[in-house]
Symmetry: C2
Subunit: 183 residues, 2 copies
DNA sequence: ACCGAATGATATATTTATGTATCAAATTGG
DNA sequence: CCAATTTGATACATAAATATATCATTCGGT
């Protein structure tokens, strides 16, 4: 009877379109975003007075989605390797979100802090993977972290380009990380 | 006595500065480029009437440098694996150039064709690596190509950030491609 | 020292993106 | 069906980047 949010508000459509647009072209104009969202530019400004407001909203949304997806995926992981595997599977479909955060310079202080927490989480995951012998000890931590980021984005790109199925892409990304392309 | 080109012309300084600037921020303004090159913005417009002219000049320069570096490095390579290894070592120091080309949409037709040739070269290299058993047969060609591109850029980034020495970065990139981070 | 070319600084015009205001039309909720 | 809100279209203002033109100064070659 309450029937809250029966119709997803225009705000969400704009945010989705903006993520999509900015992932492909970080310098895209607000007209581009409005066009992709199928709304007038004026309406966009009603929901997000300035470009910065939109970017902040996007950032928060991306973090929310990624945090939620990983939290669910990691619920009953039993090892670091398991956590990596589940994380990749969960995050690859959100690769555009992930990439947006990775290339965005945050103006909002709380978002900045939250993002750095996520980075630190990956760094700790890498350490745990080393402790389990999954990642070699002589691989620099920064190299491993950068590669995890990259493989997620790469996998998403291949899916978005229609060259790979989501599950296959995530599998290839994980395999490339842990065993390379060899054999 | 001819003493041609004793002092590198300002044109080269601008191109170098532009590559550097655009690699870090694709949306940088011409003022940024001029500042980094240490020249006036008016002088920049004398050598490159429009932004497009500058971008085209950069693209050509990047391709020239990369083609020259790889041609030299591949002179006496005896296997596909050898070609990959030498190519990576040669190209990682030019990673900013490489990445610029990979993210640039060419307006010039001849540059577009030349770039696609380079892409096709990498694709053939991947096929040869498969034939040698260096790359597994079930790895999609597009995945391998994308990973080679990415590892070059990643290695350069780590070098540029001062986290890795050039030789170490190229080695890690090659190893990550062929064996992953594992063991 | 002189001359010509190239440069930097400055001014100005043009374009593009951004942001604001207004209003008629459409959609929603009652 | 009606009223209130929301939307899209339009017009307008502002800011930033781009592009062009001018001129005094500097630099290199002679």
């Amino acid at each position: 009877m309450p029937a809250k949010a029966l119709r997803p508000p225009m705000r969400d459509a704009i945010v989705d379109a903006a993520i999509d647009t900015f992932a492909r072209n970080p310098g895209a104009s607000l007209s581009d975003v409005a066009k992709r969202a199928g709304v007038g530019r004026a309406s966009l400004h009603r929901h997000f007075p300035s470009r910065g407001d939109l970017v902040t909203a996007i950032s928060r949304q991306c973090m929310d989605e990624i945090d939620a997806a990983t939290a669910a995926a990691l619920a009953d992981a039993r090892s670091a390797r398991d956590r990596l595997s589940r994380m990749m599977e969960a995050v690859v479909p959100l690769g555009d979100r992930y990439h947006f955060l990775a290339t965005e310079a945050f103006h909002d202080e709380s978002l900045q802090a939250r993002y750095e927490e996520d980075l630190a989480w990956v760094a700790r995951l890498v350490d745990a993977l080393k402790a389990e012998g999954v990642i070699a000890p002589d691989v620099p931590r920064s190299w491993a972290v950068a590669n995890i980021d990259t493989q997620v984005w790469l996998a998403w790109s291949e899916v978005a380009a229609g060259r790979l199925a989501p599950a296959h892409a995530a599998d290839l990304a994980l395999r490339t990380l842990l065993e390379g392309l060899g054999r």
